[in-house]
């Protein structure tokens, strides 16, 4: 199975897939000026994941910040997850937020309301 690994920068998150646990992690800051360029490889990867033989995909969203330019792309990531779920795979999203960051919690709830996948909200001390 093709893996994906993108190192984080001050403006873009770390993206890593662990095939042992079928877990995709998106961690850090997502404030690129052109988010479409950044998210394209990830969207393509998710597209190809839909057709593979893996039984499941867990997405851990561990974002510290994201800008509105990223928010549409993040929605596209979740839409691809919906597509993967429709292929019969077990799909889940874990949305991490820092305990005093109600904005990040609300952001997760916004996506949860739009997307047809159950989100698990996970409160942590530090993302």
């Amino acid at each position: 199975m093709n893996s994906i690994s993108i190192e984080g920068t001050p403006k873009t998150p770390t993206v890593k897939f662990d095939d042992q646990s079928s877990t995709l992690v998106i961690r850090g800051r997502s404030i690129p000026e052109n988010s479409i360029d950044f998210y394209k490889p990830l969207i393509d990867w998710l597209e190809s994941y839909a057709g593979n033989s893996e039984p499941a995909l867990i997405l851990n969203m561990e974002l510290e910040y994201f800008n509105t330019s990223s928010s549409k792309c993040i929605l596209d990531v979740f839409k691809k997850m919906e597509g993967i779920a429709k292929k019969g795979k077990e799909v889940s999203v874990k949305w991490y937020y820092e305990e005093d960051d109600e904005d990040m919690l609300e952001a997760g709830e916004d996506y949860d309301a739009i997307i047809d996948i159950d989100f698990e909200m996970i409160k942590v001390e530090e993302v």
Binding site: E33, Y65, N67, S71, K72, L75, D101, D103, D110, I114
Partner: protein, 194 residues
Amino acid sequence: MTDLVYLSKLKTLTEIHEIFDLYDSMERKNIMLSFKGEMSTELLTSILQIIENKLDRFGETSRVKKRMFNIMVECLQNLHHHIAKPDSCDEKDTPSVIVMVAKNVTGYSIITGNFVEGNEVSQLQNRLEEINSMNKDEIKELYKSVLANGEMSEKGGGGLGMIDIARKSGEKLDFGFIPFGENKSFFSLNVKVK
């Protein structure tokens, strides 16, 4: 101690006073950062870094730091992407913008100013007035609806920027337009963060 004014040439007295007045006016308005010039990716990163460091030094809560950072990112990226050139500006130049961050008793103000095309004024004004007429929950619903249904602009924003700024600020957006030249306007925005 006598009031000592030392100047190399008497004719620069006015200029020196102008510089001091500018400084003094900013000082009295509690401006902690001010920039006028061309916005670039590098500058955007530097300004964010400076503000983050200052907020750390002030011992601000992580909540204020995050809100400030989020709103600064949106404001600065707006400045970077959605600006018009004033007619006096050379075609090959990037137009100037102004960014100021002030600390006041109740919190912070993020102030920006930039030129916009005259024909964009009414659309922007309507959008901002619409946002200002809404309460917290209505802004949240608008954000979700634009996120879910709105078209993505080529820059990726899709009209979410101002909604997000208003949502994170929790205060009414303070804004204004001043007609400039034939078909441009100077747009200023003051976002309060508590």
